[in-house]
């Protein structure tokens, strides 16, 4: 085997600490090396040409490039090898920059280490096998999980590009949290006015299959080839017959048994309901838990009034399987309910400010509903306890956010802005009212955001108090808010009529369970993890699964929409070709030696290991062995470490190669 060694100075980066000519000279003496040179920039055009020329002229079989991390330039040098006519996987790199020059000072020792690393790479490359990239077909259909603004945007973008989309929403209607908002910062657009056209567009789009009141139950397969099982919960209404006339809703005798979750518990809804008037689809659902029919088999008023015979009490959940190529996660967030400790969480629970005890201590979303023209008070400011107009409202920011001891360490990001908006909306409607905001810092980064906060303070006269509130308690129908003004350096006490808490934005209910179902990692808070915080913020670490919106971390509407469009673009990149090319660094099982214990299958984080039956000529199974699905395998090597008999190897990093590297040291 003829091996060429190419040592790069990386300008001064390597050359300053490593005596590159000496490394190249030393490499000449390594067994198998027939050509060894050093050059200032191997990755430059002339540098690559040196490699190509040497391969052609000296008939090299394999090359070793001693330069930077393979993360930087492995592709470059593999391409050069390919151009010169050798298999790109017969190119190895010795990392002389991140592993040597950048971390050492002593030239003598660094040079010695560089020589050692180069020798190891030479020993490895001798055992490299020519590999071929793996090609897998792509199903050009996208699954979007979550029908909030992020999911809607992603679905529309993908569908408008001409690809089919399945949009799954667990609630009876799409719209998400944005449909609950009154007006949006910093422009004070009516939230529903800008959202509902998009909702309708989704409903009418020929490329979008909308599945509301549905949840993803199982995800199998891999990038380009997912098989997804979706549970369509029983609506007890025949969607093909229902016209959405709403007679059943108006006639339903159950009026005060179930809280309306769209109104954040500040109103009731009947047993048969649509979450809100503009719901998409406008098809009601029957709530089995409160409906009289499910208690004693009586009532049936809805059946009598429905002219279309659309009521189906015996309708069952339905499991639907979809073939999917890419998945966009857009499951959003929920607000931290500080009245109780979050289930199964390391969070201690907040339990302060009388939330859940005093009716007029409410959270941000409840305030949105009060401020909304379609809300329980028709947009008039009335406090929940007695319906009186509050004359003094205290807003408390960072409730549960930025709180290591009782809440979440992170900043929920949107609260500074929506609190300013809340105070502003209040002042716009209650001219003689007073609004106080307790804040830690005002974080208003964003286009027109700081101006918006200044407007609240300067034009609308909202009083900002820098400090924390220690206590809220009731006295003579008022809520005494005790806090501290840290700028004035004195305690403050405000007699408020209503208190609004900007509670933390936290991961959606069961986000971690869904992440496990789908097969993506999540952080300790339950937010989904991106593949790289800077350069791959849209992708999850699992191929073909992308993230959009607040399921990844707290986000406002424009950010969620931008991320959704980015995720849509990512799926289109995936759908741009009919076959998917993958690096062949995947695990391979030696079926002769595999004992079939399937520990590899248990530990594989990508569910890439399958069972293959080895049969005799009569078709009787002799043994079962592990089999690696190339499409799913990400080449992490967990199986190779686990296999007790070392019957599974990682291509490009075989045990033999690694042993040779160690032995060369």
């Amino acid at each position: 085997m003829k091996i060429g060694v190419f040592i790069c100075h990386c300008g001064e980066n390597i050359g300053r600490t490593v005596d590159c000519p000496r490394v190249s000279k030393a490499a000449e003496w390594f067994p198998g090396v027939v050509h060894s040179v050093d050059y200032k920039y191997m990755c430059s055009d002339p540098g690559q040409n040196m490699i190509k020329d040497a391969i052609r002229e000296k008939g090299l079989d394999a090359i070793v490039v001693g330069s930077c991390s393979p993360h930087m330039h492995e592709k470059t040098f593999r391409k050069a090898a390919l151009d010169a006519g050798i298999n790109p996987f017969l190119c190895e790199m010795a990392n002389l920059r991140e592993h040597v020059s950048w971390v050492h000072d002593d030239i003598e020792e660094a040079t010695q280490k560089a020589i050692d690393l180069t020798r190891m790479a030479v020993e490895k490359v001798k055992r490299n096998q020519p590999l071929a990239t793996i090609k897998v077909p792509v199903t050009k259909r996208t699954l979007v999980i979550g029908g909030g603004i992020a999911g809607i945007q992603a679905a529309l973008d993908v569908a408008n590009a001409g690809y089919e989309v399945v949009l799954v929403e667990k609630e009876p209607s799409i719209g998400g949290h944005m449909s609950q908002l009154s007006e949006t910062f910093p422009t004070l657009d009516c939230s529903q006015c800008i959202l509902t056209p998009r909702m309708v567009e989704v409903y009418q789009h020929p490329k979008i299959k909308l599945m509301t009141y549905s949840e993803v139950e199982k995800v199998e397969g891999f990038i380009g080839n997912f098989h997804v099982t979706i549970r369509q919960k029983a609506r007890h209404i025949d969607a093909s017959k229902c016209t959405g006339c709403g007679l059943c809703i108006t006639k339903c005798p159950i009026r005060k048994k179930a809280f309306n979750s769209f109104e954040e518990g500040m109103a009731y809804r009947p047993a048969v309901y649509v979450p809100f008037p503009q719901a998409v689809p406008n098809i009601p659902v029957i709530d089995e838990t409160v409906c009289t029919y499910y208690k004693n088999g009586k009532c049936g008023v809805c059946v009598k009034v429905c002219g279309r015979e659309a009521i189906m009490f015996d309708q069952q959940d339905k499991l639907v399987t979809e073939e999917i190529g890419a998945i966009i996660m857009a499951t959003g967030y929920k607000l931290y309910d500080i009245s109780k400790k979050p289930d199964d969480s390391f969070i201690k629970g907040y339990g302060e400010y009388g939330y859940g005890k005093y009716k007029d201590v409410i959270d941000g979303l409840q305030f949105e509903r009060i401020a909304s023209a379609s809300g329980p008070t028709s947009g008039e400011f009335k406090r929940p306890s007695d319906g009186k107009e509050p004359k003094k409202v205290v807003f408390i920011q960072c409730v549960g956010s930025r709180d290591d001891s009782k809440g979440f360490s992170y900043c929920s990001k949107i609260c500074c802005m929506y609190t300013a908006k809340h105070a502003m909306l209040y002042k716009h409607k209650v001219h003689d009212g007073e609004a106080y905001v307790f804040y830690m810092d005002i974080r208003s980064g964003g286009k027109m955001y700081e101006e918006f906060v200044r407007r609240a303070i300067e034009e609308d006269g909202v009083k900002y108090v820098r400090g924390r509130v220690s206590k809220v308690y009731e006295q003579n129908g008022k809520y005494i808010v005790k806090g501290e003004d840290t700028i004035a350096g004195m305690p403050v006490e405000i007699e408020a009529d209503m208190v609004v808490l900007a509670t933390a934005m936290i991961a959606q209910e069961n986000a971690s369970t869904l992440a496990q179902t789908v097969g993506i990692p999540y952080d300790k808070y339950g937010f989904f993890n991106e593949a790289h915080p800077k350069l791959r913020p849209i992708e999850s670490t699992t191929g073909g699964i992308f993230l959009a919106g607040a399921c990844q971390s707290p986000k406002d509407i424009p950010e969620s929409v931008a991320m959704a469009s980015a995720a849509a673009a990512k799926t289109m990149v995936l759908f741009g070709s009919d076959m998917l090319e993958r690096e062949p660094v995947v695990a391979r099982v030696n079926e002769l030696l595999c004992g079939g214990c399937f520990y590899c299958r248990k530990v594989c984080p990508y569910s890439a290991i399958e069972v293959r039956e080895i049969k005799d000529r009569n078709g009787v199974v002799i043994k079962e062995v592990a089999y690696v699905n190339d499409g799913l395998c990400q080449g992490c090597g967990t199986c190779t470490a686990t296999c007790p008999s070392k019957s599974v190897e990682l291509m490009g990093f075989t045990n033999e190669q690694i042993f040779a590297q160690i032995a060369a040291l």
Partner: protein
């Protein structure tokens, strides 16, 4: 005994099982050896008593035995006479996908203990030490069970006392102890051959490209073999003690395996081969797992 023979005879005759792995007398009534029978008339050979020392589960994974179950293009059941502790091994093998529950017919006994060695009468002194800490004298899984439970002869568990005494030693002292013990190893791999959980098609020790385990019978090679075996068995070993019984050099292998068993039991509440529903400890992950040992 007649019950066992009649039952096996019937099972073989009516074709429920293709073969039965059991014990037969070997030269003296106080000694047995394994036998595999396929004809109903051979059932008369079978015995079950306190001299049934072998863990017969080791044969279930052998290709020649598995072949017996393949009759005319179908897979039939293999019968096995198993002490309740040997049933653990069968269960562990099922958990590790080596056989299917429906492919094995477990004939077990309510167990009254076995002797340490052939030719001795079962008393408090001669009882095998694994029987002293036995937690399952009745089989956890079986298709047929015989025998009645009697009181075990009482005796102190010296093995456990020895393991406990290791906790008081310094690591250097422990190292010296095992160094001396492993020095005796002749690399005959009898421990591997007797172990029901050592079913790999090719043992990592026999791998030569690359060579993972030093194969020569000197200190370093002995250490690497015995420690790798201990690691490969941790949380998998069912504690049958066959390795120690098979060892011609009397290396106290049970001490290591039993210590590993105690760790799995105390730290993860896991015992190998006890429950078909529980996932194996190695290869399963629970967020509540202790992790103070992770550096």
């Amino acid at each position: 005994m007649d019950e066992l023979r009649n039952h096996v005879k019937e099972m073989l005759a009516n074709g429920t099982v293709a073969a039965v792995i059991g014990y037969k007398e070997a030269g003296s009534p106080m000694r047995t050896k394994p036998v595999i029978i396929t004809a109903p008339e051979e059932a008369i050979l079978l015995v079950f008593n306190e001299y049934c020392l072998n863990n017969l589960a080791v044969y279930l994974t052998k290709a020649r035995v598995k072949n017996l179950a393949r009759v005319n293009g179908t897979i039939k059941k293999l019968g096995i006479v198993a002490k309740p502790c040997d049933v653990h091994a069968v269960i562990a093998l099922i958990q590790e996908s080596q056989l299917k529950r429906e492919d094995v017919y477990i004939i077990s006994f309510n167990c009254n203990g076995v002797v340490k060695d052939y030719g001795e009468t079962l008393t408090g002194e001669t009882i095998a030490s694994k029987c002293l800490h036995c937690d399952a004298r009745q089989p956890l899984y079986h298709d047929k069970v015989f025998g009645e439970l009697k009181d075990l002869p009482a005796s102190p568990d010296e093995e456990l006392a020895k393991i406990k005494s290791f906790d008081d030693m310094t690591s250097q002292e422990r190292f010296e102890y095992f160094k001396n013990e492993f020095d005796k190893c002749i690399k005959c791999y009898a421990c591997r051959a007797a172990c029901p959980m050592c079913y790999c098609t090719q043992c990592i020790t026999d791998k030569t490209i690359p060579r993972w385990v030093e194969s020569s019978a000197h200190g370093r090679g002995n250490f690497s073999w015995n420690l790798i075996r201990a690691f490969h068995l941790s949380a998998r070993c069912v504690g049958c003690g066959e390795c120690e019984r098979a060892c011609p050099m009397d290396i106290p292998l049970s001490l290591i395996n039993r210590k590993m068993l105690e760790v799995a039991k105390n730290d993860f509440a896991y015992l190998s081969g006890r429950n078909l529903e529980t996932p194996t400890l190695v290869g399963s992950f629970d967020v509540k797992d202790k992790e103070e040992f992770i550096l």
